[in-house]
Every structure is written in structure tokens, then in C-alpha cells.
Symmetry: C2
Subunit: 232 residues, 2 copies
């Protein structure tokens, strides 16, 4: 039984253009404070209307990647998009390699965190973990984007760990996951369902070794998928 759905995130045109503007900034190596082309120039360069450019710029301003100075133009923000992306990874090149680096860090942390969660989780936290697991499954079965729910699932495991630094740190790391959604999203539906269940069950059964191994398996399968994309 396979449930591999077709759920590439559906982006609006403005969102796609926002991504492209960001990629251009990174590719051209534009520094913080650098001025970007005006609406008219961007519309010509990218081949979309000025309304779409305006909307795309708004998205990048709300993500603190661009900043508008009235009468002066639009600039690369000093805040470096740290709102959505506290580690500032948006501005680094070579996203597949970056996604592999992120996965290496998650491999160092998350199996241990899952083991801690199996030891320290409180009953009401387990209830929420089960609910989040169900939410991810539901979205996968419906063929919808499950990235956000997936991040909340991993964040809840961090909360279950009882380590307060972990609780603060995992959201910082996991907010980076959404930067790489396009790389693996929707390819690992059934695997995600199976290993999320195994992780949750081990944490509920208070089996730290099992939780650690299940999390390793989950991240390792993701890593293999990423590696297989590397050549493309």
C-alpha cells in the first residue's frame, strides 16, 4: 500500500517571483544594504507584470530580506531575513549541500532528543504529540503540504525532552527546514507516516533506545533521498 501523494507546495506567482529575486540576490552576491533594481527593471528582467513584482517585494519585506526606503529605493535588509530564518541560511548558495549540512546537525541532535523525550515527557505532552502525528498523517493522505505540521511534530518532541535549551534551539533549527521543502517534500509520505508512528510509540512506551533508533532511521532516509537528488 503506497500513499505517495503529489503535494508539491502550491506557490502563487508572486511567491515564485519572490524566490527568484532572493536567488538572484544570492547568485549576484549582493551585500547587505545593496540597492536592488526598481520595479520596472525587475518586471522586465523576470518577465512578469509590475503588480506581481510589487507583491513579491512585499513578501520579501515581510520576511525582512528586503527593506524599502521611501524615495530612495529597495535594499537588501540588514536584518538578513532572520525573522523566518534565524540562522541566515537564505543567503547561502548551493541549497542541496546546505540541506545536507542541516541534516548532519539534526542527526547529531534529534536522536538524543528523542531518547530524552522518552524519559521525560509528561502525559499532556504525549497527548499533544499524538495529535500532531495524526495531523501530519491526515495532511499526507489528503495530498496537502505537511511541512508546517511536520515542524510542529519535531518541535513537540523537543518540548518533551525536558531540556530547556533544546526547547529553544529546535525551533531555530527547524525553521530552516522550510527553506528546503522543495527538495524532498512529498517524496517521503509513507516513510514519514511509518517512522513518525514508531518514534511516537517509543516515546509513549518510555523506550529511549527505540526512540533514538527510530529518529536515526527517519533522518537517515531523508538523507539518502537528498543524496539521490545531489546529482540532478
Amino acid at each position: 500500500m503506497s500513499h505517495e501523494p503529489e503535494n508539491r507546495t502550491k506557490q502563487t506567482l508572486a511567491e515564485q517571483v519572490a524566490e527568484q529575486i532572493l536567488n538572484d540576490i544570492v547568485e549576484k552576491g549582493l551585500e547587505i544594504g545593496a540597492k536592488i533594481p526598481n520595479e520596472f527593471e525587475l518586471a522586465q528582467e523576470i518577465g512578469v507584470g509590475r503588480g506581481t513584482i510589487r507583491e513579491a517585494v512585499k513578501i520579501l519585506v515581510s520576511r525582512e530580506i528586503l527593506t524599502i526606503r521611501r524615495g530612495a529605493g529597495t535594499f537588501v535588509s540588514e536584518r538578513q531575513g532572520l525573522l523566518d530564518d534565524p540562522l541566515g541560511l537564505s543567503f547561502l548558495k548551493d541549497k542541496t549541500n546546505l540541506a545536507l549540512d542541516l541534516l548532519s546537525v539534526r542527526l547529531m541532535l534529534e536522536p538524543e532528543i528523542a531518547a530524552l523525550a522518552a524519559v521525560n515527557a509528561r502525559p499532556e505532552q504525549l497527548k499533544e504529540l499524538e495529535e500532531l502525528k495524526g495531523k501530519v498523517e491526515e495532511l499526507i493522505y489528503r495530498g496537502e503540504d505537511h511541512t508546517h505540521a511536520d515542524i510542529l511534530f519535531h518541535r513537540q518532541i523537543a518540548a518533551c525532552s525536558g531540556n530547556r535549551v533544546v526547547e529553544k534551539l529546535i525551533p531555530v533549527i527547524n525553521s530552516s527546514i522550510s527553506l528546503f521543502v522543495d527538495l524532498t517534500n512529498a517524496r517521503l509520505g509513507q516513510e514519514t507516516i511509518d517512522t513518525h508512528r514508531e518514534i511516537t510509540d517509543c516515546i509513549i512506551r518510555k523506550d529511549p533506545e527505540g526512540a533514538r533508533c527510530a529518529m536515526y532511521m527517519h533522518l537517515t532516509v531523508n538523507r539518502r533521498m537528498l543524496k539521490s537528488l545531489e546529482g540532478n
Copy 2:
């Protein structure tokens, strides 16, 4: 031969008062946006002059812990001191336990990072690592505060790892170290010198297993020290 120097960080009176105001905010559970007592009240409460209070408040404003609204008073900042303390640990209670939680996270990450550094470091990065190791030793021998140099040493190991997420993440974690300096600083001078040397030598010799073990040793000794303080 022992070189355990007496190098508790020497804080000015205003810095001490700033710490006390921050502790009061945490102890009283003041929320973001809450108004704190005025200069006059704080001076009476803490028993220092208003000039010192003014200076202490300035320090907390520069750390984004407090914010002044002209004509309205002084408030707990929405930025939660995230400038110096990106994980927002300043606002959490029970600092010894928090320091242990931080050390658990470092134990998950830094041995693996040291191993990666032994594999991936470039020659010019090794040169800088040696220099930073020397700088920490010099400060310990002179009986001066080596916290900042110590943080730079660990950050350089992260840079040597060749993992770009690690490079971004370790400064976030290590900036928290300075929150706990008072707990262990100056107690582990000779141990720091010895294990920093061992870590550096292993990285230079391209011995990942040795670097991993030396880092474990370094963090484990720190953990034991913290545990011994727990009862006090």
C-alpha cells in the same frame, strides 16, 4: 604544577545592578511589555544611587532587555534580549539547571563537530585555531577573564568543520555560555589548557576519533564541575 587563577569576572557596580534588575524581572515573572519601577524606586529597592541605576538601565537597553518609551517609562523589551542571547535564556529561572541543559546540548554537538574539524579543516583555519588556543592560555596564566577567547576557540572549531549550518549555529549556542560564566569560570584553568591542547593537536593531526574524545573529556569535566555546584 597548578595554575588555578583567581579570575572571577570583575564587574562594575552598574553591571552588577543590571544583573540584579534582570534577575528581579525573571523572579517576579514580569512579562514582555511590563513596566518596571522608575529610577527612584529602583534606587531605593536596590540601595544604590540613581546614577548607578541609570547606567544599569542603559546596559539593559543596549542588551535589548529593557526599552525606554519617552514620557511613559521603562518596559521589558519585546526583543527579549535576543541580541546577546539569541535563545532567550536570560529570561529563564534556575541558572544552574539551565547551564546543565546547555552542556547536554553541547555534548550532543561539539564532539561530532570536533571530529568533522579534524577531517575538513583548511591550513589557514588551523593556524587561527592555534592562535586562539594560545590566547586562551595566555589569559588563564595572567589570571584574566578568558570567556570571550574561549568562545572564539570553540567557534573556530565550528568553522573548521566545513558544515555551514554548524558555523551559523555554534555562535548562537556559544553566546549563551557567557550567561553562565559566573558558575564555573576560573575553576578549570589547567584543565582548559590541557584539553584545549589535546583537541587542537588531534584536529591538526587529522585524528577525528581523538578530537571527538578530547572534546567529550573537556565538556564532561565541565559538567562534573557544574554538578558539584548544584547542591550549593
